[in-house]
Every structure is written in C-alpha cells, then in structure tokens.
Amino acid sequence: MDTLLEIEDLTVRFDTDEGTLTAVEGVSLSIGKGETLGLVGESGCGKSVTAMSILRLIPSPPGRIESGRIHFHDRDMLTIPDQDLREIRGKSISIIFQEPMTALSPLKRVGHQLIEAIQLHEDVPKSDAARRAVEWLGKVGIPDPAQRMQSYPFQLSGGMRQRVMIAMALMLEPELIIADEPTTALDVTVQAQVLELIKAMKRDETSLLLITHDMGVIWEMCERVTVMYASQVVETAALRDLFARPRHPYTEALIRSIPKLTGARGELETIDGQVPSPLAYPGGCRFRDRCCKAFERCELEMPPLYEADRVAARCFLSDPNQSVPPI
C-alpha cells in the first residue's frame, strides 16, 4: 500500500503554569492511501495534539512542536511555507471536529459557509458552488437542502450540524480526512447515522484518520489501529489482529475493561492505578506500575517502539532479543 501520510518521531510540549507538559513524545504512525486508521487512547493521551500537528494547528505559545517530521506525499508539513499549508488545508486534508460549532461560524448561514469553502479552493462561479453545496447537503441526508442553506448553525440539531461538517469536509474530495471524535457528543442512535454516512460517503481512495476513545467505533470503522498511552504510541496493528492478539499489555487490559453487551454481568475487569502525570513522566516504561507483566528492565529503560511489517509495540515483550523470559 502506498503511504499517504507519515508521522515520524513527533514531540510536542506545552509550557504551562505548573511546568513543561509533554503532550506527544516520539509518536510515529502512517496512513496508507485509501486506508482508515483508528487512533485510540484515554483522555489526555495526546490524540488530538497529534492530529492538530498535521496541519500545524497547535497554538504557539504555549505549545511547541519540538521535533519530528510529518510527510504528506513527499513534503514535510512542518516546514512547508504557510501559503502551501493553506492550500492543503481544506482542499487535500480536511478535519471534522467533535463539536461542529468550533468549526462553523455561528454568524454566517450554512450555505454561505459551504460556498465560501468551495470558492476558497476552486475558481468556480458562485452559482456552481451553490449548486454543489445543495447537492452535498442532500447527500449527507439533510432534508430540504435548498432551504437549509439559509439556516444558521444554531438552528440545526447536533446531528444536523455534524452532517453539515461532514458535507464540508467531503465536498472538496480531500485525500485525507481527519475526524477527531466526530460522534462523541452525539446520542448513540445519531452516532449510528453519522458513522454510516462517513462510511458511505468516503471514496475508496480517500484516507481517514479516525480519533476516538470508543473501541466499538474503532471495530466498526477501521482497518488498522494505533493505540496511544501517556503521550506515546504503544501499539499499531491491523484491526482484527489487535483484538485477537494484543501485543502491548495496556491494549490487552483496555480491551478487557470495556463493558460489554453480552457475557457475564457484574464486576468489570479493571486496570489498577492511574495514568502518570504528563508534567512528570517517570523513567522506564510508562505503563509499568499498572502492568501485571512488568519486570525489572521495564523500570530501568524506556522500551523503544519495536516495528516490523506495519506492526509496532512499545514493550520489551516484543523485543526479539529479550532473553530473560519474563514471568
């Protein structure tokens, strides 16, 4: 598979009142052409910061991208001129946010915003842009699309606004769509509608980076999955492989602690302890205090990301040279 986007060794920190906060550290991941990659992990683990870095959307100050390369085709997104970045933004790469109100202007009619987005990137007359906008509102399942063009975002329900966002993200037929928790704020029945829609609208050659903390959503939408924990990538694997044979103990524990709709009720499996603070990560493996498989080396050294064949795990158990068989 041809790689469309490749993030290598990305580190992002924020200067806060309490000190330097490590949001993302040494993150590497890649997305193939036409592929859907899921990025999963618990709150604060660095998913959104990773995604925002792709389009250089990290507010600075307080944030700074300390190191790394982000290749989109053969260009490094972190060093290209602002002008080129603006062209890519919206046209080649578009973003769907969790809360559509952050991306839609509250003061402008929906139609106006769609037309504006088209004309920003394509030299077409307004009437053509308007026709295309109406067509897309219809495609994403908005009733009476021509009339809805006149609505302001606040006049639409949450599900409708998310549909408008999706129309906006898809109508320029981008190569990569970044969807950051696109359904988290929605009710499950509306989430089901929106997920169906994203699946149906996405062209085969479009790549999707889908960020979520919901393993069920990952299962339904993705081909490959990258799991983050405490600002780092801890595992990347093909979807079924990840659930059948998790390589990292965190992935394994996470999968087991999800409450399920079938099987035994009552007590849930838990991961004891809590995530270390991003203001002061301990040395060694960041999961070791909560890991039932930890051994001495986990405390002494930080495990690297062992990579082979588009599969990766940041755990000494995946080290081909780990000789002492851990308990």
Partner: protein
C-alpha cells in the same frame, strides 16, 4: 438475590409523575407552552435494588432525578419514599428522608467545592445532621476513604489535586457518609475513561453489597447499565417505553425504540450490518407527536399508532412495554 428483591417493599414509588417547564414569551411573560420533560412516569425501586434509567439526551432522565430530590417542582403525580408521599411530609420526615436519599453527579470537577478539603467535604453532612462531633471527624473520614479505596493521605488535600476517577470516589464517599438507603447516580461514571470507569463501577457494586444500597442508575451507556443493574427502564420523550429485567432489555428488547437503541451501540466483534438505523431526530418535548411518541421514527408505525397513546402493558413477568404492536413484532 432477585427473589429477595421482588418481595421487599418499595423504597421509592413514583406514580404518574409529570414535571413540565413553562415556556414564556412576550412582555407579560405569558406561558405559551410547556416543555414536558417528564410526562407521566411511574416506577418503583425496592430496597437493595438497582434500577437503570436509560434514554438519549433530553429525554427527561435528569429532570426525573431532580424531581425526586425536590429540585424541580412537579406538575402532578406523586413521589413516595418508604410509603410516605413527599408533599405530605413534615419537616422532620423530610430531614430523615434527606439522610436516606443521596446523589452522585456526572461531573466530578464541578460537584465538589474547590475550597474545601476532602475531610470537610465527606464529613460535612455527618456534622450537619449531628451524627458525629468535631473530635470524631478524622476517624469517620478515614473509614469513608477506606470504603472508597483512597488513602488517609488524601484527608487534607483539595479536589483539584485529584484525578477524575479519584474525585468521583470522593463524591461516592460523601454520598455514603450518612448510610443512605437510596443513591441517585446521574451519569456518575460517564465522564470517566473506560479503565477508571470500571474501577468506579466496581466500587459502587461493592458498596451496594456492603450497605444494602439501592441505586437509581441514570446513564446513556447501556453496556455499563447492563453490568450494574437488576432492572432497566427506557425513556423516550418524557415517557417510559419499556421496563424489565436488565438481561431481557438488552438481549431481547421488545419496544422498537429499545431495539434501535441497543442495536446502535458499536461493539467489538459484532458487525454493524443488522443495525436498525433510525431516521430523523428526536422531536421537541415542547410539542411531542400525538399518539405513540415514537411513531415519527418507528419503522413499524401504523395509522393507529399516530392516534392512540400507549400505556405500559405486561409482556412477561416484571417486563412491560408501551407499544400496540408488541405481540406482532
């Protein structure tokens, strides 16, 4: 356990409860309509029982809880605690009931006073109710912290020094301090990450065993509700559409709305193919559709569904559904 539960008396009994909010317009603030947040709900919770209340945002779950707590004025119907209706209670009865009825909210960040230390937060009610003196404060607090799995080094710290899961534990300690009989949990674990959520869910279940607590467990997350609850009530636009044993509601739901709700949940290992995808949005509770309120989104609706309102009817032991086509579907 379920046998004991079935024969124990009702701790909380809600009968045909309506809680409406006026919509006012114009210079004279005339009431032009009502938002019918809770519109004719009846249910019971027995001693030691956990009843789940599920439904989508805006369906009236929180208003129901607030009505029970006396925070939202009710339009009609009644709420009785241990056989006595709230509106007939005299002040000492109300005071006693407030000890027996506690609440845990969703947001562990705003439900704790940021200027109080943990010891003050969790023992405040004990002092107010005159159950302990100042001298016993520390002993009582340590015992409570122990119950919720926090160390005594937490005593003199402030809420902002704790993680979300730990703050929710502090909220739980505060709720159990008076050894209540019923705790209303309104999305109590919804803001937490899965691994932490599992810890707090287990804690709530352990405490239930230890103190014979009953819970009204409000959540939009059916998978969590299934793990915790004995029975589940499903709410849509201010009304209950189905109520029954937890396992039956999840594995063999009968109301078309419950079916759609359960099938909408993405689950690892399950293909989304057989999913019932509802069309349209939830109608406004200010002008609910006539007849069965779900008919505008129901694939099985007939003309008759648009005309006659549906009451809950028995479909099995302790299982009721409000749908006129329940036998055919």
């Amino acid at each position: 356990m379920s046998n004991a539960v079935a024969t124990s008396p009702a701790l909380l009994k809600i009968t045909d409860l309506k809680t409406w909010f006026p919509i006012r317009r114009g210079v004279f603030s005339r009431t032009v309509a009502h938002v019918r947040a809770v519109d004719g709900v009846s249910l019971e919770i027995r001693e030691g029982e956990t009843l789940g209340l599920v439904g989508e945002s805006g369906c009236g779950k929180t208003t129901l809880a607030r009505s029970i707590l006396g925070l939202d004025p009710i339009q009609s119907g009644s709420i009785a605690f241990e056989g006595q209706a709230l509106h007939t209670m005299r002040s000492e009865d109300l005071r006693r009931m407030r000890r027996d009825l506690q609440v845990i909210f969703q947001d562990p960040f705003s439900s704790l006073n940021p200027r109080m230390t943990v010891i003050d937060i969790i023992t405040e009610a004990l002092i107010v109710h005159g159950l302990i003196g100042n001298a016993d404060r520390e002993t009582a607090a340590i015992e409570l912290l122990n119950d919720v799995g926090l160390g005594h080094d937490s005593l003199h710290r402030y809420p902002h020094e704790f993680s979300g899961g730990q703050r929710q534990r502090i909220g739980v300690a505060r709720a159990i301090a008076l050894k209540p009989k019923l705790i209303l949990c309104d999305e109590a674990v919804s803001a937490l990450d899965v691994s932490v959520q599992a810890q707090v869910v287990n804690l709530l279940m352990d405490l239930r065993e230890k103190y014979n607590l009953a819970y009204l467990f409000i959540s939009h997350d059916l998978s969590v509700v299934r793990h915790v609850c004995d029975r589940i009530a499903v709410m849509y636009l201010g009304e209950l559409v189905e109520i029954g044993p937890a396992e039956a509601i999840i594995s063999a739901p009968r109301h078309p709305y419950t079916r759609a709700l359960v099938s909408a949940i993405p689950q690892v290992g399950v293909e989304g193919k057989g999913r019932i995808v509802l069309t349209g949005d939830v109608p406004s509770p200010a002008s609910p559709p006539p007849g069965c309120r779900f008919h505008t989104r129901c694939a099985h609706a007939l003309d008759a569904c648009r005309q006659s309102e549906q009451a809950l009817k028995d479909v099995a032991r302790a299982h009721q559904v409000a749908c006129m086509r329940v036998d055919e579907l």
